[in-house]
Symmetry: C2
């Protein structure tokens, strides 16, 4: 029954997303230059996605054949239906990004037009397109998982889990491709545009004379919208899957432990509906306040509803552990996850907003040059890892004490439950950013551009908090998957203990901790190379196209778009494949095996979490330190301090928008691959 | 018997070091400006050490009282003699740095004078002072450990181990203070001097008009000489201690397993004598070739001697495991450690020398600005972690398969056995650097300065390789200590398994992985702040002292020295105490405890190793990319590319010379604290 309810609410969410999409589509898109520019952006974005899909199709076919073949191995644990679940997960993940991005590229110009009227109209359009994304992601997620459950639960606990892992694997791997590809695309364009435009030619951001400017705006869509959509789709799905998988192992396939995550996700979606409604309907003039109210409303409703649900459900039987967990224990575990998420969000705000000391310190350090700006930014980024690590640690210890490993998974579900609302807010950011860019490029009136800028500024703050939240939830989800891995191993009958005293586990930890470094290096190198090409291309156009600087000749935007597209597609492949292949290699290598894979996951989660926070916060702080100086502090725009701060910001860009967010997916993808193949590793070990 | 032999060879090493010291002291120190400048440097260095010692004395007294009190806890495992061993270890560690630095500050001016005659004379003086350091460190190390063994072996295996851990604890904690303090000192001065001198005022490096120049030269001594001496003293000592401790647990107190590490260390010292002799006596004109021949000679002799010793010793009985390990297994484990060290050294060379692609890529990226220089440098630093991690992984897996956990400790001993030679070479670097500085500042003839520069250049390459070696040996030693921790826990009778499926172990890993980030953040912030103060002071002097730029007025060097000294002393305390207190907190907190400490160590070793390599190699590559441009590539000195590369170099400086090397000690110190208190953690758990 519960699974049908979840299925229904998932569909309802998609329906509401559809209405928001219709609403956005109906708005006036303006005319003339606005339409022209937004047309370039949409075309560039779609070209990228189409090319990306060609590669993804090959990938999906190869992997599903591989999974199909694996299902013939006796006792290998891979179900003959896993490959199908993989395909569906992959398609849903791609759809999440695709739908969100289609609407975002329609909404940017419409928001720019709407802001001509007033602030709230602009907000409404931009936020509505965010809501399409938010509600699509959770709708597809819950619909997908509950239909998998309904279709395959009759096959028994192990096969069901394996099929669900297949679904998660599909979602995670597409997400990683999308995040890495989108991240390389956007930052190659952004860094390239800034280096020549702002630093060398001295023209402002979003100036249509800059040949890389359209690529930069396309990048916001393919990176921050499509990439983020796929990313959070998989976090969301994986957290539910791991709770179900542990629930199945601890109890039975139709137990309350299995229904609980579906139910929590469903009420989370309902809370998100209300939060989204508050933002859209409340005629608040301050967009920042409107969104905060929405987020708080949905969180409060979520807490109240889950308290009711838990109370109503009563205590939980963990049959395989022979213990009963009181309902309030479960509620506290959930609450712990939510609170950890909020604390991480605030910590992100503290370390990256120019209202507080850290970012001001970076701005001050800029007065002694780029080097001190960078050293201070790096230190603050590293320092900012302390609170998130401690929050997550406390949350998982509490959850574990109160409700064993299942509690950890529920904490992750709790943290992600109101994703429909928070993701709407996150997606608002790049749409507002694009709207401001279009207003600038189309040369709309001064006050229109100012209002658009203000919309954009709100987006920057929400983006920082959203990023913190995404990292926290990724870590918690990865830990839940890791707990599932351990539980799955012990459920396989063989007594496998991932004992740290065994050096192969330590080697696993080493290699696991290495992965985020290697992965980030590849992503950053890709951005660096593509940005260099971009710089050379922009310099060439400035040199060779007469009249470009006077605004008389149209720059060759396509060439820049092409550079970003090719770099992104080409360079997304290796890092993603590494994430899939390394756990397999470690799992099947004699002397390593399933225990070493346990170490691999633990090492990658710890190191990936730390690097991701470091990169996101250092990048955010550099960005806002620069903006703080631009507001007139320490000499203001054009001063030496400002030049130093621009260097810091440019370095931070690929950290916070390419490498950092991809690490969130990396650690989950490695976990889910290992989960899927755990029985196989054990089988090989026993040969 | 064997222990007496080791004791004797330790003393012999000290005696030879004494003769080298006498030799250095006898050389002509020149006259006039040279003597004046080197006097400033020596005075500054001694002032720093004396102030540092005041704090260290307080620290030593507090901790030894604490250890003494702990020894009253029944079954707490802390011996009533541990506090004494702690004091001796601490004093020996301080002595290692102190003696090395005294000679280095005598040798710099004498090397500058000697190079007036010819290249080889300069090399001989500089290298002889390096040999004083190298042979003092290994001499004190082996003498210390073997006398502890002789004094306390009658107390039985557990108490002996605990006393040895106390000795290691003393050595490690002083080393960490020295590394962090010295690192902050040297980089605050260096960054400050460069930022104003090179970038703003446009005067060359080592220009006596720069008020921070003496502080910079003092920094080379307190950071690169005294800091490194204490660092490698503790690596050396800890590797021997962990082999003895595991040997005691696997066999008996008088067994071959206990004598083997002492014996290997002893023949390592003999090999080092020969290597050092080769460098000093071979009248090779190319100093780089001379040193390489020395290193290779001592390594080959070490391998041959240990092969003989192993063969002569015969097979090893691991009584507690009920197995016999053939002698060649043990030899291969040792060889594995040595080879891993060499591979890491070469990998460092590849990633940081301007002969190879990575550094050239950074230089090329500088042509598009500081931001791309930094992004490329960061990526290459991250990429450079792959080979070291895999080398260490292979070495420990092989060692473990062939000779169980004891094999890992022996691999570490093998890697460090020829430390007498490699450290002589490492110490040569800063002495040559100082000599070149003095030649520049004292305005010696053009060809003298060129020869001094060449001596210095050799030092830079050897320093990079030495750093790689130091990191590798630190990781291996930390892993050996970690193995000892696991073995100690299981030897305590309680069946404690550090099972990764237990979330408190995972929390331990999280906090452990966090520590190097937190630690680095504190160290970098200290450098950043002190450098800012330094910049302001230098700017003030340029502004307020008339005639300073014309070289007519003497800058107020002392003020700059004072800024560095105060910053270093003040900021070394918190990070070091964290390293000691965090394992204790984790060990005694309910819900965490000894298993979580196991996770803590594993997490800190993995993350510390990775960050240390990243920092060392990124820093080294940035440095050499700048030098590569200065050789005339990509526009040469003064070009925009060069300015960008200077930013990268300045950022890299505190990474490679402050934070990075300190991490080596951090991970060992945390391990040894945990080892020392492991029985106490278990006792608290059982309450």
């Amino acid at each position: 029954m519960m699974a049908y309810v979840a299925l229904g609410i998932g569909l309802l969410s998609l329906l509401i997303a559809f209405f928001f999409a219709m609403y956005v589509r109906r708005q006036d898109e303006g005319k003339g230059k606005m339409v022209e520019i937004s047309g370039y952006i949409r075309k560039g974005a779609m070209t990228f996605l189409n090319r990306e899909y060609r590669y993804l199709t090959v990938y999906i076919i190869v992997v599903s054949v591989f999974l199909y073949l694996l299902s013939f191995i006796k006792n290998g644990g891979v179900s003959p239906y896993t490959w199908m679940a993989f395909v569906v997960g992959a398609i849903f993940s791609a759809l999440s990004g695709n739908i969100g991005m289609r609407i975002a590229t329609l909404a940017n110009v419409r928001a720019a037009k709407a802001v001509e009227k007033d602030m709230h109209s602009g907000l409404k359009v931009a936020f509505s397109s965010g809501a399409v994304m938010g509600l699509t992601v959770v709708g597809l997620g819950l619909f997908g998982v509950s239909s998998m459950y309904l279709l395959f639960s009759h096959l028994g606990p192990y096969e069901l889990s394996n099929i669900l892992f297949g679904f998660g694997f599909g979602a995670s791997s597409i997400a990683l491709f999308a995040r890495v590809g989108g991240g390389i695309y956007t930052k190659a364009a952004d860094v390239g545009a800034d280096l020549v435009g702002k630093i060398e030619a001295g023209i402002p951001e979003d100036d249509p004379r800059n040949p890389a400017v359209i690529a930069d705006n396309v990048g916001d869509n393919v990176g921050d919208v499509a990439g983020m959509g796929a990313d959070l789709f998989e976090s969301y799905v994986d957290s539910i899957i791991s709770a179900i998988a542990i629930g199945v192992l601890f109890s039975a396939i139709n137990s309350a432990l299995v229904y609980l995550p579906l139910l929590l996700a469903a009420i989370g979606i309902i809370s998100s509906f209300i939060g989204v409604g508050v933002v859209v309907l409340m005629r608040n003039k301050d967009p920042s306040k409107a969104m905060n109210t929405g987020v708080i409303t949905s969180a409060v409703i979520m807490v109240l509803l889950s308290l009711m649900i838990m109370y109503w459900n009563g205590d939980y039987k963990f049959e395989s552990l022979n213990k009963v967990v009181p309902w309030y224990n479960m509620f506290i575990a959930l609450l712990g996850g939510l609170i950890a998420g909020i604390v991480i969000g605030f910590s992100t705000e503290y370390y990256t907003s120019d209202k507080y000391k850290p970012t001001k310190d970076i701005a001050k350090a800029s007065t002694t040059g780029a080097a001190t700006n960078l050293i201070t930014g790096m230190s603050i980024g590293m320092l900012s890892t302390v609170i998130p690590v401690l929050s997550i640690s406390v949350a998982i210890i509490i959850a574990y004490i109160l409700a064993d490993l299942y509690g950890i998974a529920i904490a992750a579900v709790g943290m992600l439950s109101t994703l429909g609302m928070t993701l709407s807010m996150d997606t608002y950011g790049p749409v507002a950013d694009n709207a401001a860019g279009i207003a600038e490029m189309a040369n709309l009136g001064k006050d229109v551009r100012e209002r658009a800028e203000e919309l954009d500024a709100v987006g920057n703050t929400t983006a920082a908090i959203g990023k913190g939240f995404a990292i926290g939830s990724a870590a918690l989800t990865a830990l839940a998957l890791f707990a599932t891995y351990n539980q799955t191993l012990s459920g396989l009958g063989h007594k496998i203990i991932i004992d740290l005293a065994n050096p192969s586990v330590m080697v696993g930890i080493f290699i696991g901790a290495l992965m985020p470094f290697l992965f980030s290096a590849l992503a950053l190198l890709a951005v660096g190379h593509a940005a260099e090409n971009m710089v050379e291309e922009v310099r060439r156009q400035f040199r060779e196209i007469p009249g470009i600087m006077e605004g008389k000749a149209r720059p060759e935007y396509e060439k820049c778009i092409d550079i970003s597209t090719r770099a992104a597609i080409k360079k997304m492949i290796l890092p993603t494949l590494l994430a899939i292949i390394v756990p397999i290699i470690v799992g099947v290598t004699p002397g390593l095996g399933p225990e070493a894979v346990g170490g691999l996951l633990a090492g990658s989660i710890a190191s990936g979490f730390l690097l991701a926070i470091y990169m996101a916060n250092a990048g955010g702080a550099w960005d806002n330190a620069k903006k703080f100086i631009e507001k007139g502090n320490f000499g203001g725009k054009g001063s030496d301090a400002h030049k130093a701060a621009v260097v810091g910001d440019t370095v931070g860009d690929p950290l916070k928008d390419t490498a950092g967010p991809s690490l969130n997916i990396l650690i989950k993808l490695m976990s889910i691959v290992s989960l899927l193949l755990a029985p196989l590793f054990v089988l090989i070990l026993s040969l």
